[in-house]
Amino acid sequence: MAKQITVNGQSYFIDLPDDVPLLWVLRDEVGLTGTKFGCGVAACGSCTVHIGGMAVRSCQVALADVSGPVTTIEGLGAPDTLSTLQAVWAELQVAQCGYCQSGQIMQAAELLALNATPSDADIDDAMQGNLCRCGTYPRIRAAIHEAARRMGEGV
């Protein structure tokens, strides 16, 4: 069945079976490849996007179930219009291979939207679904704290 979805403020008409996961709609149909495929079973978080502001694993959301506007990493900020979170991420040189980082950033963005001053324990809880094989966790943690500080100061 065909369906209309909104991604990063743009409307798309998608003609694919209902059960195709949003991940593969974004990557193969819409052509937004910033959202990554890592496991297909919600075990790694690489495919994390926001639907209606909530972080979801796009590999587990069927096209038919996309219930609100979708925001992907490309919608969070582009190279010349970085969001605070992305700017801090770059400044602290968080990424290594970079493959999981879209998912990490989208997950962290939700955390900061819900909790302006997350503790280490809050970060552990929110981020443990996002796997990184390069081991960037120490800098992810530092980046979330630093972004929280700047956003709190309105920087």
């Binding site: 490849t33 910033g34 990424a95 970079g98 999981c100 981020m127 990184c132 094989r133 120490p138």
Partner: protein, 743 residues
């Protein structure tokens, strides 16, 4: 205007022709630079194989795959340091496969003798040996060799380009070179006039590159500093192009299911799958099948609906039989005795320690599953794939399709992790075969994570039989016998080659340890299980580091000595820079001071890939199990070109080792790996990863890599800390089998 990326593809021919036309190289070839394979487009002026001046800056050509180690940025900094260009003016492009991009660093390490004892003379020999890589067209990104390869070469490339530009301008204007300086991509004349490189570059084509000297490190502005990585902004905005992100006009999406038993496919029923939505083709690949569809997920679904019948595995079908096969390795004479000092057979007075260790098969599980995009058109193949070797990828694809190597173009985007997995380009060959069946249509092949685990080429299982004697608080005998696969010889023999060489990497992280022990033997026994294996971050040292250092810890305990002091006493006479590292981690971690109840520390040290690394790990008993609190790391790469990047490699390498040490294990049943995805082959995550503190010293001679050396000490440091905490010695990995670690 043609981009240099396109140019790199087009000019691929040049490099391969050079090989085809030069089967027998004279010795003189060793000292001759291969031809520059870059053919410029409008607005691009290549001054050598690594430096291209463009209208808006400089493009640095990097033959090293970027998979997170930051090599593109340090490669660029090496050029920029001599060329005098601003960091914002630099772009890095992956090179084509060509002879000019041989890896001299990798071969330079394959010297006889012990690496840590090398001095300036041995460094010279290593540099000469490295040139032999040119004859073999060896372009592997691995072995922590990239910067060892590029350190001098790239600075020379930058300096030569700079002086060539000055000469060209001098010829044009009559101003002597001595009255010119360079700055920010400009040549500056005595009167202050600034002439941009882009203005001069068109005049430089026929200037003979002069011989140049290199700047003194005390004047460096880019090297030795924390440079912002050139790929960072792309990687935080989802705009970095990984192999899996390649999109071509009219592209179709494919997946494969290959035999999980690594044997043949006896037959398959595709009737159900054929009529599923989006399915275009189902192709018999002999040892598996491919589904081509209009969307990757539709291909995944259809592949699940195919009913294949898999033939038997060409190796023992379960874990127990595989271990028996590994142990059989000890029945033969050693493949190589990699170190033999004193007399390990003579009976020694003292306390004897005997132990047997095991390390399991491991998967790589890069975050980006294996994938490749291929287009076969007019008898020529182009592949876009994250690989760690362009030359082998090209040659394997050519052989599989029955076409000439010069008809294959390999383009390398970013790699979502490598860890050694992407040095085996089986997935690219599959994409090429599918593309040939669908000639004219670009095909993107994506493996499911399940395929990625099932069809990995695993870190080989290894077993060690250790015997040691301590007397008066010191080690007097260290006798190690290790059975495992030779990854290199297995690969050479599988491709029909082979060489009468001995593979000391089988005991990587063991024979080359700077310990002054009077009777010291390390013997390697080659195993032949038939399980496909590959390098896994730090190769032999990934298990050798665990075997070697854990046994040192056992000997320290038997000697009644402090584990860190015991190591320090043995290391100091052999390698002072390594001794300093132990003193440094002792200071950083407060080693020996009182710790809270239920908390303990362990230390480990491994010298690998030329870089010694010491780590102290602190663990504590918590309500939910044992947690890893913190890791202190001290390393010495000789010269620290980008400290912040080295720090990332150190804690990243350690975490990769810790994940495997805690929970990594591939087991077999019915001829298949029993693990399939992150739910049963997991890694450390935010909540159970430790905090880190890294210190970088620069006392070692020469310069060495940092991608792998952080990994080997991780497992023994953790095991030794757990011993200190619990009194239980784990001689088998993963440690979750012995300890209640927090998962």
């Amino acid at each position: 205007m043609a981009s240099i990326g396109k140019i790199a593809r087009r000019t691929f021919l040049v490099g391969t022709a050079a090989i085809a036309g030069g089967v027998v190289f004279g010795v003189y070839k060793l000292n001759q630079d291969p031809p520059n394979p870059l053919k410029p487009g409008e607005g691009e002026w290549p001054l050598n194989a690594f430096v291209v001046i463009t209208t808006d800056g400089v493009t640095v050509i990097c033959p090293k795959s970027e998979f997170g180690q930051g090599v593109h940025s340090t490669w660029a900094a090496l050029v920029a340091e001599e060329l005098d260009v601003d960091w914002q003016q630099i772009r890095v492009v992956h090179s084509p496969a060509a002879l000019a991009y041989y890896n001299a660093g990798l071969f330079g390490m394959a010297l006889p003798g012990l690496d840590y004892r090398r001095g300036p003379v041995a460094e010279g020999i290593a540099a000469f040996m490295g040139k032999a890589a040119k004859l073999l067209d060896l372009d592997v990104t691995g072995g922590s060799s990239s910067i060892r390869d590029g350190y001098t070469r790239l600075r020379i490339a930058g300096a030569t380009a700079r002086e060539t530009l000055k000469l060209a301008l001098s010829r044009e204007t009559g101003t002597p070179v001595s009255q010119m300086t360079t700055e920010g991509g400009h040549v500056v004349l005595g009167d202050g006039t600034r002439v941009s490189y882009a203005t001069i570059a068109p005049l430089a084509a026929d200037v003979d590159p002069p011989r140049v000297g290199l700047r003194d490190p005390s004047t460096w502005r880019y090297l030795g500093r924390d440079m912002p990585r050139l790929d960072m902004v792309a990687k935080v905005t989802g705009t970095a192009e990984f192999g899996i992100d390649v999109r071509l006009e009219g592209m179709k999406y494919a997946t494969v299911h290959m035999s999980p038993r690594r044997g043949k496919m006896v037959g398959f029923d595709k009737s159900k799958a054929q009529s599923m939505p989006g399915v275009e083709r189902i192709i018999d690949l002999g040892d598996g099948f491919a589904v081509v569809a209009s969307n990757t997920w539709l291909a995944f679904k259809a592949a699940e609906a195919v009913e294949p019948e898999w033939g038997p595995a060409p190796y023992p079908a379960d874990t127990a039989s595989l271990w028996a096969k590994v142990a059989e390795g000890f029945d033969a004479e050693p493949h190589v005795v990699a170190r033999d000092e004193g007399n390990a057979d003579r009976t020694q007075d003292g306390t004897e320690v005997i132990a047997e260790y095991r390390a399991p098969y491991l998967a790589h599980t890069t975050m980006e599953p294996m994938n490749a995009t291929a287009l076969f058109k007019d008898g020529k193949l182009t592949v876009w794939a994250g690989v760690q070797t362009m030359a082998i990828t090209r040659d394997n694809c050519a052989a599989a399709l029955g076409i000439a190597a010069e008809d294959v173009t390999v383009i390398v985007p970013f790699l979502g992790g490598g860890f050694g997995r992407r040095a085996t380009p089986d997935y690219v060959v599959q994409a090429a075969r599918i593309a040939k069946e669908m000639a004219g249509t670009p095909i993107k092949l994506t493996w499911t994570r399940e395929e990625d685990v099932a069809r990995d080429h695993f870190r080989p299982a290894a077993m060690a039989r250790m015997r040691g004697v301590v007397r008066d608080g010191k080690a007097v005998l260290y006798d190690a016998h290790v059975a495992s696969a030779s990854i290199t010889l297995d690969a050479m023999e599988a491709s029909g080659g082979g060489a009468p060489m001995k593979d000391k990497e089988l005991v990587g992280g063991m024979h080359d340890q700077p310990y002054a022990i009077p009777n010291f033997r390390v013997a390697a026994y080659r195993t032949f299980t038939g399980v496909p294996t590959a390098s896994w971050r730090s190769v032999g040292a990934s298990y050798g580091g665990f075997f070697f250092d854990t046994f040192i810890d056992e000997m320290a305990h038997a000697a009644g000595a402090d584990p860190l002091a015991f190591r320090l006493d043995l290391i100091r006479p052999e390698h002072e820079p390594s001794a300093k590292l132990l003193e440094t981690v002792a200071e950083m971690s407060g080693w020996g001071s009182a710790l809270p109840q239920g908390t303990a520390q362990g230390v480990a040290f491994t010298y690998s890939f030329g870089t010694p690394v010491a780590q102290v790990i602190q663990v504590s008993q918590r309500g939910s199990g044992i947690g890893i609190d913190k890791v202190w790391i001290a390393c010495d790469p000789g010269v620290a070109l980008d400290p912040r990047n080295i720090e990332a490699q150190m804690f990243g390498g350690c975490l990769y080792g810790l994940s495997a040490a805690v929970m990594g294990e591939i087991t077999f049943a019915d001829g298949r790996a029993e693990q399939s995805n992150f739910w049963d082959y997991d890694a450390l995550r935010m909540h159970n990863a430790p905090a880190f503190e890294v210190r970088i010293l620069q006392n070692a001679i020469g310069l060495s890599g940092v991608g792998e050396p952080g990994t080997p000490p991780a497992a023994p440091a953790l095991g030794n800390a757990l011993f200190a905490l619990t009194g239980t010695r784990a001689r088998e990995l993963p440690l979750i089998k012995t300890f209640d670690l927090i998962l």
